[in-house]
Symmetry: none
Subunit: 540 residues, 2 copies
């Protein structure tokens, strides 16, 4: 098996995503998680470019990593300095990182137009920068910026540039498709040529996703002889992002009959949770359709697929989702059968028979409500609650009962924001609670008032966050004639430190629909916690 | 140039995305947009599988499309029927679609395990199904389900299956990577073999994105000889989605030195707006990092890149964003154009100079409000009103002024719908009106109360209807932390017998955001009517 080095640049190139902004603490957390996953190199930032990046290198030294080497990123020396007195290279050294990664120009036009220096001088700069870092005892990765575009424009010069880095002692020549415009067959051919020209050099690939081909380009590079691949968790990065390690790693491990190894197969089970961790820390929206690790990656909706998947997973799944720490989800649609309901109940520890009246009853209820617009394919938690309620004594108990809510919006002038206030009367554990709260809008006020009423009884509610809130107006299905009188469907996504769930509400009134979804979400959280607690007690 | 057929299945396979649920009206809108883009085939659904799909085929006939052919999807005939009396094939015929696309089993294990029939019988079923549809005068695309997995498991049988379809007269053999687990080099090799075995057949590719390789697989198939590619707008679809046509089309048009043509280069400028349109209609979150058409696709954040891009775009952009209807965004120093505003004003009959202060003022206002989430690309009527307001005396007058609104929602028991009431104090033509109304939900009540106040002054308001109402939560841009406290954007589409217009409102409070959009919409109607009246008078 050929070992392929995995070089993660989530903390440097990844933070060039326009919606990502990491604190030093965020970066440390992610680095430790990447180390746990078994990443070979963690590029922590560009010391000297900003204070957060330098702080990272100072802090990370205090941790003893299991496996990963820390890399610091920077450029070749400035034409105005020698390598020895270049502040940028000095910063790389003082970062204390095991590996220094420096980028240099390999596309002739970039030397002349962006750096505005003669082509020969650029080669000297590359050579001297690498040689200096080597002489100071550092391993050097040379990032050959715009290598593929450069090679297409001027083969001889691009080769000369990486040869300069190689001759000066660079450990790895990382060939970058900086603009992301190169195609897989081009990457393959060019890397084959370079491998022939520099047969003893270690070649790497650094791809961007501007043509949705970054994973394919990385794989093609490896097939052509590269043994080092750079990328980011979830493919975060500038413009369309970097090559997605969450796709490259399992593809190399699982799809090549053991020709390649990266982290080792046993580490793959951490992939889904690592992906979710980075999304959480960066506070960005997860991309549900993300391959291997996304929430929808193994979700089956189609009637034909869903029933076949029940018989034999391999029929409609390219890998077993558990290998990468993910799970299969069979979504309930209007066309779903009783078998799905029996399967779903099993998840909660209820063994039902297909012919029990409760199964038939639930199916009818689901069909009726789906035709009203309840989107149960999206809102699994609401389906589960419906099942648990139908199960009566065996299922979920009523954690609270609403007696009244009142929401008031008052806008007192054209240029003033409205004031929002909600009050709630609920029965909780035999006690009647009457609370009121303000909030940022009607749903937030209502949510605040309800939590106020419940939090003394159920303190773990404070762990729960509302993550997303979607409203869809169902004009076409509205018997009353469209517009602001339409039916609305509200989907609420909530989560705690353990999981995420989606609930649904439908009404012509957006406040009522939101209430239904929020109330379901809170009930789901409370049931889930009790269920887990019971399971813990039974174990011990 | 080799013509590659583009076959869109957004309306069929795309709707298998777990978060997508399209009404018939949604599907018609998208189909017309795809036709405008120049898509060759639009697969509208599976007639007979559900009422929405059949309704689509009945309705789409009423439109005369410019270029696209409509395709209906279904399976080969059921083993219990002959082709002639199979209800599924009958539905395909009665859909009236130009093209019938039927999928059949080509992986031996699927015939024996999913269909549970002998292998020979499956070949007969394929042959007879295609032959029957051909005999009824339809063009047939044969979707060879699981072709690549099938070919790897049993070459001879997979080839026999597509040969059966080909022999029966199928126009196109679309080879499907149904589970999405095949790699580009495998797709390339297998298609080359098939092209050798069936040299006169038209081959197609239908790829799924489970390894983040669907675009690469589609491109590899075309390089190996396929001339028909199936996919969806934005790569929507079950699990990780289908091959993304928004990436495949520009890659084929722009990256192969005119070796291939698809829609024609001049159509590419519609790509970004088509992508946004589908996202809007489906009411899903746009994926900012999406290649070519995403909001971030040409956004430059890094200091080095951003400054170099200002000097010479080609240094850090693989294509000119305007070719695909997108635009460059330099995030630190955003420089929008005044020329755009001058053009917009011209539409309303105002001839402004680029250097007038009003132009500069409007530009600043638009930038500020866009960064708050106002989607002026979708809500042109709101941009126009903003311009007209900035123009002062020359522009729009204030038809009404809000002094106060109050909205009350009262829910008196868990199983009762809330009661909704709104009151409004507005000044209209110098008179203060105080009105109250109930409605189906808070926004409808507010709309009713406002109209009650205005209708005596502006009777033509009764012609105006609110046609659609869309809510989008902008979690990512919310400084206060997501959930029910997020910013919401409301888009309202209104119309009268003459035209349709869209307005926008943004607030953390959904009632306030709705108010803004509704108030803009009413103002727009009143301005439009006065403007037309004036034009009439000037003419006569």
């Amino acid at each position: 098996m050929k070992k392929i080095q995995i070089y993660d640049t989530s903390l440097r190139d990844g933070t060039q995503s326009e919606d990502i902004n990491l604190t030093n603490d965020d970066k440390l957390k992610i680095a430790l998680k990447l180390d746990e996953l078994g990443i070979d190199f963690i590029e922590g930032g560009w010391p000297g470019s900003n204070p957060v990046d330098m702080a990272f290198f100072n802090e990370i030294k205090k941790f003893s990593l299991r496996h990963a080497k820390i890399a610091a990123f920077g450029s070749t020396h400035h034409p105005g300095f020698t390598a020895e007195n270049d502040p940028n290279l000095r910063n790389l050294l003082s970062s204390g990182a095991d590996v220094c990664t420096i980028f240099g120009k390999t596309w002739d036009i970039h030397a002349t137009e962006a750096l505005r220096i003669p082509l020969e001088l650029n080669l000297d700069i590359i050579h001297d920068s690498v040689a200096f870092l080597k002489s100071m005892g550092r391993d050097v990765v040379f990032d050959a910026e715009h290598f593929f575009d450069g090679f297409k424009a001027n083969q001889e010069y691009a080769l000369a540039a990486i040869t300069a880095a190689y001759g000066a002692g660079a450990q790895t020549l990382s060939l970058c498709d900086t603009n992301g415009g190169t195609l897989p067959h081009e990457v393959y051919q060019i890397i084959q040529q370079i491998a022939k020209a520099l047969p003893d050099a270690q070649l790497g690939i650094h791809a961007h996703n501007d043509c949705e081909l970054a994973v394919a380009n990385s794989i093609a590079a490896i097939q052509a002889g590269a043994t080092h691949v750079q990328g980011t968790i979830n493919g975060i990065g500038e413009r369309c992002g970097n090559a997605n390690l969450c796709s490259i790693i399992p593809t190399l491990e699982l799809k090549f009959n053991d020709e390649y190894t990266t982290l080792g197969k046993e580490k793959l089970a951490l992939l889904t949770s690592t992906s979710a961790f980075v999304t959480d820390v960066a506070n960005i929206m997860p991309f549900n359709r993300q391959p291997f690790v996304g929430r929808s990656a193994f979700a089956h909706k189609g009637g034909v697929h869903a029933s076949a998947v029940n018989r034999n997973s391999a029929l409609y799944e390219h890998i077993d989702p558990e290998i990468v720490g993910n799970r299969q989800r069979v979504l309930l649609t209007e066309l779903a059968g009783r078998a799905n309901i029996v399967n779903m109940a099993k998840k909660f520890g209820f063994h039902l028979d297909k012919n029990e009246p409760v199964v038939k009853g639930l199916l009818n209820e689901l069909k009726k409500r789906s035709s009203m617009g309840y989107d149960y394919a999206a809102a699994e938690a609401s389906v589960e609650l419906l099942l648990l309620k139908k199960l009566g004594r065996r299922g979920v108990r009523e954690f609270f009962k609403l007696n009244q809510f009142r929401v008031l919006e008052l806008k007192e002038a054209q240029d003033l924001d409205p004031i929002s206030e909600a009050s709630v009367i609920v029965e909780v554990e035999g006690v009647t609670e009457h609370t009121a709260a303000t909030g940022r809008g009607p749903v937030n006020s209502l949510d605040n008032a309800l939590r106020k009423a419940l939090c003394n009884f159920y303190p773990r509610l404070s762990e729960m966050k509302l993550l997303d809130f979607k409203v869809r107006v169902m004009t076409a299905e509205d018997p009353a004639g469209g517009g602001t009188a339409s039916f609305v469907r509200v989907l609420v996504e909530s989560g705690d430190h353990l999981s995420r769930w989606v609930t649904v509400g439908v009404s012509y009134n957006i406040i009522e629909a939101s209430w239904q979804a929020v109330a379901d979400s809170i009930t789901y959280k409370l049931y889930k916690d009790e269920h887990e607690q019971r399971a813990q007690i039974e174990k011990s």
